[in-house]
């Protein structure tokens, strides 16, 4: 007894560990979900929550030995409210992990606060290149994609299909411009030429004038990025203008994901690149799809997959740090070293914390995005502006 007392520091340290250890395993990890539950992106937000919770449930409600608890805030996909919302999660609810968001503007605001406060953050969708570029941090991860990636993969696929002259068309806003940049980089690297870059003011959906421009310029193929209602209208207008048969339409996967039913026959033959497809047919994906359908009575989509993998990533990090989210360096090292067994296929996390993953070229056949081939293998975002080593 006396011997022990000689080293008060050790005693205090031991006491602290003893006090901390039970607290850690008893206290649940609070995951602050900042996702849209109303508005245009409500469905995406819902599928992301479902995907994340599915993995946690499969692990018995625990990751890294700690219970998982959720705090949900409606992001409304509104960047103007993002700072308030994320402050609410960090300060008022004292969350350990931030999960969000769908909208890039919201995700950038979250990343800024996460970087300042050191709160662990996982992005399950928003593709803004900056998040894993200049904004990158040891505590910020992404399990979806950077906008540059699907653009780059589509450019590779189009060039490989033998097209030489392309026109790009998208909304004039961050995501569109970043995807076009990626597309142009690979397409021109492979010897193609982008003869014109067309932009529609966001969220305008009147395409007729630009379709006329495309018809007059006669490219070999067209690269497009639109999403949701805009994607449906663009694909339909493109077909109605008679352009589909003249100039094959390519795009990033968002052009035909979650929109195929509304696009109907007009989408047949449209080729898109994405890190997921409807019928991958791998055992891993089949198992995931079955579990998801059983849990929610609905088919999963790429958003659910990205969120499922966000939960996997959290699990890997927590297992390596003994359930301590504040050990950023260990957390980051473990995640970078890991291979995530995703329904989309295995992938790893790059130095800037963005997935290094395969992109599939899909073609719409019979109302389904069917895989044609791998458009780009283990594609890594260059992570421009990220200083992490």
């Amino acid at each position: 007894m006396k011997r022990l007392m000689t080293s008060p520091c050790a005693v205090i340290a031991a006491a602290l560990t003893m006090a901390a250890a039970p607290a850690q395993s008893a206290d649940p990890i609070k995951v602050g979900m900042m996702l849209p539950s109303t508005g245009t992106y409500a469905r995406l937000g819902n599928n992301i929550k479902n995907g994340f919770k599915l993995y946690v449930q499969e692990q018995g409600g625990k990751l890294g030995g700690r219970e998982i608890e959720y705090v949900e805030v409606d992001s409304e996909a509104n960047p103007a409210k993002a700072i308030d919302n994320v402050n609410k999660l960090i300060k008022q609810h004292e969350v350990d992990v931030l999960l969000g968001s769908v909208h890039s503007g919201v995700a950038l605001a979250m990343a800024k606060r996460a970087k300042e406060s050191g709160t662990l953050m996982i992005v399950p969708n928003a593709g803004a290149d900056k998040v894993t570029g200049p904004m990158c941090a040891p505590n910020i991860f992404r399990t979806s994609f950077s906008n540059w990636q699907p653009g780059y993969a589509t450019g590779q696929a189009m060039a490989e299909d033998g097209h030489k002259r392309a026109i790009t068309i998208t909304w004039k806003y961050g995501a569109g411009e970043e995807m076009v940049k990626g597309f142009k980089a690979s397409f021109e690297k492979a010897g193609g030429k982008v003869i014109d870059q067309l932009y529609v003011p966001f969220p305008n959906v009147e395409f007729q004038a630009l379709l006329t421009q495309i018809a007059a310029a006669k490219p070999d193929a067209v690269f497009a990025f639109f999403a949701g209602g805009g994607a449906v209208k663009f694909v339909k207008d493109y077909a109605a203008a008679g352009l589909k048969d003249a100039f094959p339409l390519y795009g990033t996967g968002f052009l035909t994901d979650g929109t195929l039913e509304a696009q109907g026959a007009d989408a047949e033959g449209v080729k898109t690149a994405l890190h997921y497809a409807d019928a991958l047919g791998t055992p891993r994906d089949n198992a995931f799809r079955e579990a998801y359908a059983k849990a929610y009575g609905d088919q999963p989509d790429v958003y659910a997959v990205q969120a499922y993998d966000a939960a996997q990533l959290l699990g890997i990090g927590l297992a390596a740090t003994g359930g301590d989210v504040h050990k950023s360096a260990e957390f980051s090292a473990a995640v970078r070293a890991a291979t995530i067994d995703s329904p989309r296929g295995q992938f790893t996390i790059s130095k800037s914390h963005n997935p290094i993953q395969n992109f599939y070229l899909r073609e719409v056949k019979g109302g389904v995005n069917q895989v044609v081939r791998i458009a780009s293998e283990a594609l890594e975002d260059p992570g421009r502006g990220c200083r992490m080593k």
């Binding site: 245009t40 409500a42 819902n46 932009y199 004038a209 007059a216 352009l243």
Partner: protein
């Protein structure tokens, strides 16, 4: 730009302008003539589009007749909804100030969006173009023009003619114009102004919903679709001169041309061209192109 392309662009502009008139015509009645700042106009448009989507299966099985019977039933339904809305909400707004009008109609947007989410869900849906209008007309060697768009343009022209006729030539139109300039005087002449306004409002709602129904096969239906048309509708009504139908027509066509050629000629500034045009016109004519009365 060669001549063919230029002519096709003119057709695009004309067609877009007519569509804008169709979408904004309901707002011309409710905001222009009745003086209510109706932010829920976009929601009326959305309600119409969703009716075209949601009613189609039920009508097809009970009445048959495809898209046109859907239009007809939708039109009747929207007159009823408009009539009830005026009675329940809008009739209290005429004498209130603008802030209260904005607050209530903004509130209605939220209510309608939430109802839409509960009833139909948050997915994007397509609406089938009726069989006989599904074809297209060749314009150049590759470009074709969908017949349905031409049909929409024709509908708009018919609507323009109809509205002019009612307002300029009929007793109803006369009463409406009189009511817009002096409510009390019209009332003291023994005209039931409350009923009259209820009818005008119902017509305004029906026009907006009709525009939504007609646009649905081209634009598909999706959450938030109403918000996208709302601002451009106000631009059309304000440029045209509040309360003027011919003003709204001219403004809609003007916007159609500015938007179409703006996208082609100055692509980098396409987003602001419409608003730039509005600013210039309002500096030149602060009351809009055609001031009513």
């Amino acid at each position: 730009m060669d001549l063919t392309t230029f002519l096709i662009q003119c057709l695009n502009a004309l067609q877009y302008g007519l569509l804008l008139f169709l979408v904004a015509s309901g707002l011309t009645l409710i905001f222009g003539i009745m003086g209510v700042i109706n932010l829920a106009h976009g929601s009326f448009y959305m309600i119409g589009a969703y009716m075209a989507y949601a009613l189609a299966p039920a009508i097809e099985s009970s009445l048959g007749g495809g898209f046109f019977s859907v239009l007809l039933v939708g039109l009747v339904l929207s007159v009823v909804i408009g009539y009830v809305l005026e009675w329940a909400f809008y009739s209290y707004l005429y004498d209130r100030d603008h802030l209260q009008q904005v607050l209530m109609t903004y509130g209605l947007i939220l209510v309608f969006e939430e109802l839409r989410s509960l009833l139909v869900g948050d997915d994007v849906y397509g609406v089938q173009i009726p069989e006989i209008l599904a074809g297209s007309v060749p314009l150049s060697e590759v470009m074709t023009y969908p017949v349905y768009r031409l049909f929409v343009s024709a509908l708009c022209i018919a609507l323009v003619a109809g509205m002019f006729y009612v307002f300029a030539r009929t007793r109803l139109g006369m009463m409406i114009r009189a009511g817009a300039s002096n409510r009390e005087m019209v009332q003291s002449l023994g005209i039931d102004i409350n009923f009259l306004y209820r009818v005008v409002f119902a017509a305004g709602f029906a026009l907006a919903a009709f525009a939504g129904m007609v646009a649905a096969p081209v634009s598909s239906v999706y959450p938030g679709m109403g918000n996208e048309v709302l601002i451009i509708c106000f631009v059309v009504v304000v440029i045209g001169g509040i309360g003027s139908i011919q003003g709204a027509l001219v403004a809609a066509l003007l916007i159609g041309f500015v938007d179409t050629f703006g996208k082609v000629i100055v692509p980098d500034a396409a987003g602001v061209m419409v608003y730039l045009a509005m600013a210039v016109i309002l500096l030149w004519k602060p009351d809009g192109l055609f001031k009513a009365g």
